[in-house]
């Protein structure tokens, strides 16, 4: 029962173009969403987040869009740079449970930026 899914295991984009990574979720109780970036042999690092009260959040080259009715979010990277090549994980949280925020992760999308 995977509540967060990233259906594209990999994505290849030319440098300078836009990268769009997608994520779908099934649990309507999720109210906070995050994207993490992971380089080989390193742990995931936080990239950007969005609350369910918003439909867009922007941070520099990174923008996350949330479509609650479709239970879908996407991460846009523009312009894409070679250093963006990494695995991107989508994660969701359904609020505070037992005093903690439990994150549910997708399986990741490997983004490759080609020169």
């Amino acid at each position: 029962d995977q509540q967060v899914k990233q259906n594209s295991p990999s994505l290849s984009v030319q440098e300078g173009r836009i990268s769009i990574l997608n994520c779908d979720y099934t649990n309507s109780m999720f109210d906070y969403f995050l994207w993490y970036k992971k380089y080989p042999a390193e742990g995931p690092t936080f990239l950007i987040s969005i609350s369910s009260i918003k439909d867009k959040n922007e941070d520099g080259r990174f923008t996350v869009f949330l479509n609650k009715s479709a239970k879908h979010l996407s991460l846009h990277i523009v312009p894409s740079q070679p250093g963006d090549s990494a695995v991107y994980f989508c994660a969701a949280s359904g609020g505070i449970i037992q005093g903690a925020q439990k994150l549910v992760f997708g399986q990741g999308t490997r983004l490759t930026i080609n020169p």
Binding site: G43, K102, G106
Partner: protein, 112 residues
Amino acid sequence: DTAVSQTPKYLVTQMGNDKSIKCEQNLGHDTMYWYKQDSKKFLKIMFSYNNKELIINETVPNRFSPKSPDKAHLNLHINSLELGDSAVYFCASSQGPTDTQYFGPGTRLTVL
């Protein structure tokens, strides 16, 4: 300075053995976590401690036992290792239970 560190980085062992993975954070955070990344690449929460108190305990076999000697450390002990325990285990920490989580580099456990 590594913020969240894990030892060892790689661990290869035989079925039935008992092993431990150590995690330390120097961020002064109060909350620590253990995640398992399985063969399908999903990262799944196993445990979370806040101020040395267990706050999340997912449905994992009781062969897995976390131990938090102090706020900066959360170790994972695994008894009677099985083939299915082979995975990458990530430790993470956050200032509080609802704050951004910072991950360690992971420990790749291979059970033969």
